[in-house]
Amino acid sequence: MKPRSVFTGFLTMLLAAVMLVGCANQMEPAKKAIADIEAAVAAAGADAAQYIPDQLGAVTDQLADLKAKLDQKDYKGVLAAAPALLTQAQGLAGAAASAKQAAEAARAAALEAMSAEWTTLAGSLPAQVAALESRVNILSKAKKLPANLDQATFDSVKAGLADAKGLWDQATAAQAAGNVEAAVTAARQVKEKADAAMATLGMTAS
């Protein structure tokens, strides 16, 4: 073997070794950068998934890309993209906390509105159902119904009244159990049915 060839071979091996060492030097920082991002995502916790799912998804998607780069030994690529992603990941916890606070405030406002609606409905529906029931009871005694009311329509009004009374029982039970949302939902249905039945019977206020 010629001395020149020996030298070239040695140089090639040296270069390869230097490159290998260089890569190895970047591998650990790349792994650490990914671990830091994962830790920041984990710190955001379940609140991030619940309140800022899109923002969390954007970070986890980019994190997956970084992990793919790591698997491909593209440590340089990992290290180049990691700082920006870490900043995003570190922002998740604060963003989730803000979003949670806003959601809880909105929920509290909605509950307050529902409580007010319940107060209104609870103050009017018993009287409305009582007025409707009174009319239905009287019409049930009639030997002949009014000209504008046939038996089938009257039967549907009676069914509507029975439904309304059952729903009102559900509404009051839900309210007693502290479930304002269910109480208001049922009470709205009571009003809908009572309004429809009263309209059918021509029971307009005058």
């Binding site: 009017s124 009287a127 409305q128 009582a130 007025a131 409707l132 009174s134 009319r135 009287i138 019409l139 005694k141 009639a142 030997k143 002949k144 119904l145 009014p146 000209a147 009311l149 009263m198 029971m203 307009t204 206020a205 005058s206």
Partner: protein, 70 residues
């Protein structure tokens, strides 16, 4: 038949806001009103019972009186 209303009748203080009201017209009787609302004049007693604060005799209603129609 309805007479002219000369009194200042007023509804009872605790009224059901969903109560239907009817203002007595000339020529009205409870029978006629019951037939109009219930289809059966014989149910006039229901109207009379609901208006005992202003009616003492089912045959004596006055034009302009506001009657509850239960």
């Amino acid at each position: 038949m309805a007479e002219q209303d000369t009194s200042a009748d007023s509804p009872a203080p605790e009224e059901n806001p969903y109560t239907q009201w009817y203002e007595v017209q000339p020529g009205d009787s409870l029978w006629k009103i019951a037939k109009q609302y219930y289809g059966d004049g014989s149910l006039y007693t229901e109207i009379f019972k609901a208006n005992q604060d202003i009616l003492t005799d089912p045959d004596k209603i006055k034009v302009g009186q506001r009657l509850r129609i239960p």
